[in-house]
Subunit: 256 residues, 2 copies
């Protein structure tokens, strides 16, 4: 089956959505059929690639209806990239999800529904909201792998133990096959002591769980979503594009 | 009574905690008795000023017990600054809060409990998690003012309508006296087109709801919390310190 990557961290603004969009686009450009599922009610992954939130059914409808047929939206211009668009109503959806039978596996049921389609995805990316809530638990409970973006800053480093505890919780309770794909340093600025210190600390503590590739702070990455484009279509020569291409190679070479 | 400022935005990493810590410290240094309440289970406002989360009672205990006596912690080195420290258990607390009578006013009850103490605060700051959840609704339902940090980036601008809708919802349902203190541009980098465009867009749409003062991207601001210090004690000559001092002046001159 597909490699299903939950991209999660309760710390806000660490580059979860940016990583989902750009990794997915690089893999689609590497002849891998790739699906994004936008589990964040902010819908940034959806708007960041110029898509509109689908209704009839919305993602919340799909989560609440085990028998629903999910219809991913093929991206209009990026081949082999599809998306199940985000739903703002997920904000109020926590309570509804919690009343479902087996509430931690609503996302898994959607993925099972997809497996009956004739299209076989190579990769699925789950963009998560900045919270250790039932939606993020759903992502951890249905993924094959977890990727944690870690901004090269103090608060982001501090919060890392929380998401790794949730990872362990999911492995022990709802998804024993969940693996850690890796910790990804983002917004790295090698000119600042803080960034260098955070990277050293992270590699000292977590060793080869940390990707060799790091993502530099690069304004082109933050400009790209306002044009609805992944970085490889917005500015292929930027340091941001090069970094996400390197990361793609590292992930494919690790055998995911 | 005190000016109670909810600092909220569901977009993650926009500078909510950084603004709470540094505005509160500047006001304490302006002879205003100031209290921080750390409503974010990440507890960044607590650790950012070198405090430990208090137990017996924890903040969650206080929220669930209307008759509890809140005991703010005076900061060990910063005069006139106190904090009700954060509680990691707030992650699971949503469900418990929702079962309370009048769940939107648990924070208000704490503030009413505080008003019986002989200490009369001039300012109270509520640091909110990156979500439009019951905790953030509690902050909006008990504050006199809302301050929205807006990072000078595309996704942050896009998400602004959501927090302003919640502001309207609170004014109409749970707190008719709630005022907008202002929209605060953060991490501004006047060398980039994106930042300049976001600022122009924001001022065009929201006019004088936007503070004249903007907070520049300044690495000293992100270094300070790793030393447990607000910026005016970490590096008073930095652009970050100057900006938060300017903002304090602007807020005091506006008559808050
Ligand atoms: N490497 C980078 N260099 C510069 N800007 C970046 C980089 N990565 C992300 N950004 C920008 O930083 C902001 C935060 O990134 P992003 O929205 O991807 O984080 P997130 O973790 O998904 O946030 P949230 O917690 O709100 O979901 C965005 O405005 C994004 O464009
Ligand atoms: N003006 C600034 N210049 C540089 N770095 C900043 C600035 N403001 C905040 N930061 C840093 O950016 C990161 C995000 O800021 P902060 O944690 O205050 O945002 P937040 O909105 O509270 O995040 P969350 O949504 O996770 O609660 C932190 O590492 C912080 O130190
Ligand atoms: Mg995101
Ligand atoms: Mg914060």
């Amino acid at each position: 089956g597909p490699v299903i990557v939950a991209v999660a961290n309760q710390k806000g603004g660490v580059g979860k959505t940016t990583t989902v969009i750009n990794l997915a686009a690089c893999l689609a450009a590497s002849e891998k059929l790739t699906l994004i599922i936008d589990l964040d009610p902010q819908c940034n992954a959806t708007s960041g690639i110029a898509c509109e939130s689908q209704e009839e059914p919305s993602l919340l409808d799909l989560l609440l209806d085990p028998a629903a047929h999910p219809q991913p939206l093929p991206h209009p211009t990026i081949p082999r990239l599809e998306i199940l668009t985000g739903c703002p109503d997920l904000v109020g959806g926590e309570k509804l999800l919690s009343e479902m039978p087996d509430p931690a596996h609503c996302v898994r049921r959607i993925l099972e529904g997809l497996s009956h389609n004739e299209k076989k995805y190579d990769f699925v990316f789950l963009d998560c909201p900045p919270a250790l809530n039932l939606i993020t638990l759903n992502a951890l409970s249905s993924a094959t792998h977890l990727l944690v973006p870690v901004q090269a800053e103090y608060f982001a480093l501090e919060g890392l133990t929380d998401i790794l505890e949730s990872f362990e919780f999911a492995r022990q309770n709802t998804n024993q096959n969940l693996q850690l794909l890796g910790l990804l340093l983002t917004m790295v600025d090698s000119r600042t002591n803080l960034s260098v210190e955070v990277e050293n600390e992270l590699r000292r503590h977590y060793g080869d769980k940390v990707f060799k590739t790091t993502i530099p702070r690069n304004v082109r990455l933050s400009e790209a979503p306002s044009h609805g484009l992944p970085i490889i279509l917005y500015d292929i020569w930027s340091r941001g594009a090069k970094a996400y291409m390197e990361l793609t190679k590292e992930i494919l070479n690790n055998g995911a």
